[in-house]
Amino acid sequence: MSAAHSRRLEDATARLIEAAARGEHNAFEALYREHVGIVYALCARLAGDNRLAEELTQQVFVRAWQRLSGFRGGSFRRWLRRIAVRITLDDRRSHQRRRARVTLGETDRPIDAPDPCVAPDGARLDLERAIARLPPKARHILVLATIEGWSHAEIAGFLGVAEGTSKAQLHRARQLLQEALS
């Protein structure tokens, strides 16, 4: 894409955000169409469950709509992705609380493996499934660090863990993935 097209796209997104923040639903629908893929991919990988990811994606856009007036510029994609991470991890915590009320003492384990994301090839499908089967904490840190490009300091701050914990979980996740894919 040329620089001119990129600028035009940024301008278009900025204008859509302004219009949506004023309550223009058509503009917000356009923002949804443009960004749903990145939000859904992130939710699906963090949650490890495609059906749940669809529900979470809907929640992300509803939350974004409610908070659009608080958007202070910068990268809309990044803002949206942080909402997605927050909502997905909060859902995970409430899922754990619900389960703890039912089954005391059960250790953390991955939720059911998902149906495949759109999978054009077997290798990618294997990798997506292997990520989905990781223990949740390791999966979250792998996705944030490796796929989303967050630093360990960012992850530690966001998740409320020590940086060393983030690094150790990433190391564990990578080992588990290598074993699963060998």
Binding site: H5, N26, A30, E34, S182
Partner: protein
């Protein structure tokens, strides 16, 4: 599998994945009061036909300088932004672009006629409704293409 192989495969994962269904209707229901979506009840083609029928009686007079209402300005803004978003895509071939532009051209003609009629009859509710339907049709076309080319 070596660590480098794993890094390579992780780096190749797509950042964007389309969900298996359109999630917008449920989102729209959550964010949009039903009363504001009256214009979506009519399908786009029916909307254009209605616009054409309403316009029939208003096109004899020459258009006066246009001063669109706020909602029309907002719909134009949304359309411009959607179109810019779509045209910035590099995954549309020239035939697809030509088809889109041809469809938009038909709607643009209806919009121009509606705006001319609205300039002559700024308080006529049917003219305003026809213009809104035409703009909505344009949004549907653009959003539809964006939605099918994620």
């Amino acid at each position: 599998m070596t660590p480098d192989d794993l890094d390579t495969r992780l780096a190749e994962l797509p950042r964007s994945v389309a969900p298996s269904r359109d999630l917008w209707p449920d989102i729209a229901a959550a964010v949009e009061p039903p009363t504001t979506r009256w214009w979506r009840w009519a399908p786009p083609v029916g909307g254009l036909l209605a616009a054409a029928a309403v316009l029939w009686g208003f096109l004899s007079a020459p258009p006066a300088p246009l001063s669109p209402p706020d909602w029309a300005v907002q719909m134009r803004l949304a359309n411009e932004a959607l179109e810019a978003t779509l045209m910035a895509r590099d995954d549309l071939d020239s035939a697809a672009r030509a088809e889109i532009e041809r469809n938009l051209g038909v709607i643009d003609q209806a919009i121009a006629e509606c705006e001319a009629a609205l300039a002559e009859h700024p308080d006529h509710p049917d003219v305003a409704k026809a213009l809104s339907l035409a703009w909505s049709s344009r949004i549907d076309v653009l959003a539809g293409v964006i939605g099918t080319h994620p």
